[in-house]
Each structure stands twice: as C-alpha cells, then as structure tokens.
Amino acid sequence: MSTIRFGRDERERDELLGRVADLPAGIAPSRDLWPGIRARIEVGAPAENAAPHGLSWRWALAAAVAVASLSVLFTWLAMRGPGATHGSVPVAATQPVPAAAVQPVSYENYARLGPQYAETRAQMLTLFRARLATLSPETRQRVEQDLATIQKAASDIDAALAKDPSSALLNNLLVSTYQDEMRLYTRVTAPI
C-alpha cells in the first residue's frame, strides 16, 4: 500500500498521532466468529456465488436510478389517476387475487436487514397488501411493476456486489432499494 509523504511526516512529527499509531491494530473479538461465518459460506463456493459474467455495476446503477424515479413517480401518479379507487372500496369487490401473491423484495446475499427492519417491513407489507387489494387492476399493475423494478435493481446490485463488495456506490445503491421499497409501501398505504 502506498502512503503519501505528507501523511507519514505528519504521523512522525505529531506526538498524539504517534501515540494513536502505537495502538494495537488488532483487537480480538470476545468469541470465535468463525463458526457463524462457516455456516454461512458453506452454502456455496465463491465461484458459485460470483456475479454472472459481464454484469457491470453500471447496470445496477442504471437500474437503481430507474427505481428511484419509477417507484416514486409511477406510484404517485397511479394512486391519483382516474383508474385509482379509494380505501372505502371493499377488498372483495375489486380484488380477486389473493394479496399473499404479492411478495416483498428479496435482498439475497448482501442485505443487512436487522430484525427491527424486518418487523417494520412486515407490518407495512400487511397494510400494503390490504390497500393493494382495493385498487383498480390498472393501478395495481403499475404498483406491482414498481415492486418488480425494485426487485430487479436489488438483484442486480447484489450480483454486482459479488464482484466488488468494497464499492461504496453499490452499497449505497443497495440501501436506496430498501428505501425505495418502503417508500412504495408508504405511497400505496397513505391516505389519498
């Protein structure tokens, strides 16, 4: 690794930085983390989890950008378009398809979604499905297309992260898909 002269000089001449540099770089965790890691990696060899050949993170970027605009704009317009119906419409009267058929976004390998987020999302999903069932088929189709677009972006970003897990941009984009999904649920469930 290269260390520029400016930094080295600064570390040498600053007594406080020198003391910081003397701190041990390694700190042992309180427990052996390997069993947990092994349990997760034995699901598949590295090559099996690698991104498909030729997949570029730029595609993920393009997909995520599309998500940001689609999930906000389309849903917003659809919910207010002439085909939209309102919450007072009975579910059974407008929605023959079981709400459970609509699945949340699956984030695969690189997601860092904790139990608190999962719980919140599950609650939002329940409301989302109930509300979705009250919408016109046209509006519902648009919403489901948005959800599919977010899913595609999440999958593309996940695959791109397999090739470049240290990419700050890709990690940010992945986080943006969490936000897009929740934003979609919020848009759909919000009172009109």
Binding site: M1, L16, A21, I37
Partner: protein, 183 residues
C-alpha cells in the same frame, strides 16, 4: 498495510476453489484487525462482531474479484469500512449514539468498557468520544496507516474532507485528553 504472509497467496487460491479450511486460515490471520477496525468505528462490540462476520462472508463470496493489487488485509478493510457505512445508513441503523447534538455540542459519553483491558484506555476512550466522521478518519489514518487518498476512496468523501476531519479529530482529541498542541 498487512503484507501477504507465508501461505496467504496459497490460502487465497485454495479458498477460491471453495476450500473453507484455507479461508479459515485467512480469517484467523486477519480477524483481529478487521474486528479492531469495526469496533473502533462502531464503538459497539456486538455490532462489530456482526460486521466482522459480514466482512468475511462478503469476502468469501467475492474472492474471484480479488485481484491482488492491494494486500488481502487492505481489501478486507475496504469491505469492512463499507459494511460499517452501510449499517449506519441501513433502515434499522445500528443505533449509534451521536456524540454531538444538533448544534454540534458534545454530549456526555461513557467509555466503551468492552475494549480490551490491555489497550491504553485513555487514548481509546478519547478516540471513542470523537464525532463519527472525525473518528473514522483518525482510526483509518492513525491506527491503520491509510493515506488520505485511500481513506477518501474507502469513505466515499473528498480528500480535502479527510484532511479537515483529521485536523478536527486531532484538535478534539487534544482537548479531551487535556494535551497541549504539539504543532
């Protein structure tokens, strides 16, 4: 930073073929440095353990992308920094307590008692009380020896931001440790 030691290149090659025993050797060699970085960035041992695991799982999945242009330890650190940054931005967050209020005034904070007792606690405590951005830069620069350019790439900020954060970190750390400026 951490040069490939004896056997490391071989372990990497074997791990790429799916050899988890070889990857365990890599884990054993680097886990303390990865955990140390995560702990200093998060100040939360449980979160640091989770993020250390995430780092190694991500590294395993991406071994084919490791080109060896940097050391394996540096590559792991990049993944770890991204894991920490992503966890801060994630919907559930990590619940890190801001050390400054909305007006930038310092809040009281107890020292992270979980740090290794062998580590000089005064200095570690001082670092732990720094605001997030300043702490990140001081840890990466001071403890792990990265350059401003390397830190900027890791943190996704400008080089000038890193330099400003380092200056801020040094000033705050001196104040909190009641040290005279040595510049």
């Amino acid at each position: 930073m951490h040069a490939a030691g004896p056997g490391e290149a071989e372990w990497i090659g074997l791990a790429r073929t799916g050899d988890t025993a070889a990857f365990e050797q890599l884990y054993r060699r680097h886990v303390d440095r990865v955990f140390g970085l995560c702990l200093r960035m998060t100040r939360d041992p449980a979160a640091a353990e989770d993020l250390t695991q995430e780092t190694f799982v991500s590294a395993w999945r991406s071994l084919s992308a490791f080109e060896g242009r940097s050391g394996f330890g540096t590559w792991l650190h990049r993944i770890a920094v991204n894991a920490v940054l992503a966890s801060r931005r994630s919907p559930q967050g990590r619940g890190e307590v801001s050390l400054t209020d909305d007006e930038g005034e310092q809040r009281d904070l107890e020292a992270p008692e979980e740090l290794d007792a062998a580590v000089p606690m005064d200095l570690e405590r001082g670092i732990a009380t720094l605001p997030e951005g300043a702490r990140d830069v001081l840890v990466l620069y001071g403890v792990y020896g990265y350059s401003h350019e390397e830190m900027a790439a890791m943190l996704g900020v400008a080089v000038g931001t890193c330099k400003a954060q380092l200056h801020r970190a040094r000033r705050l750390l001196r104040e909190r440790m009641n040290l005279e400026a040595s510049e």
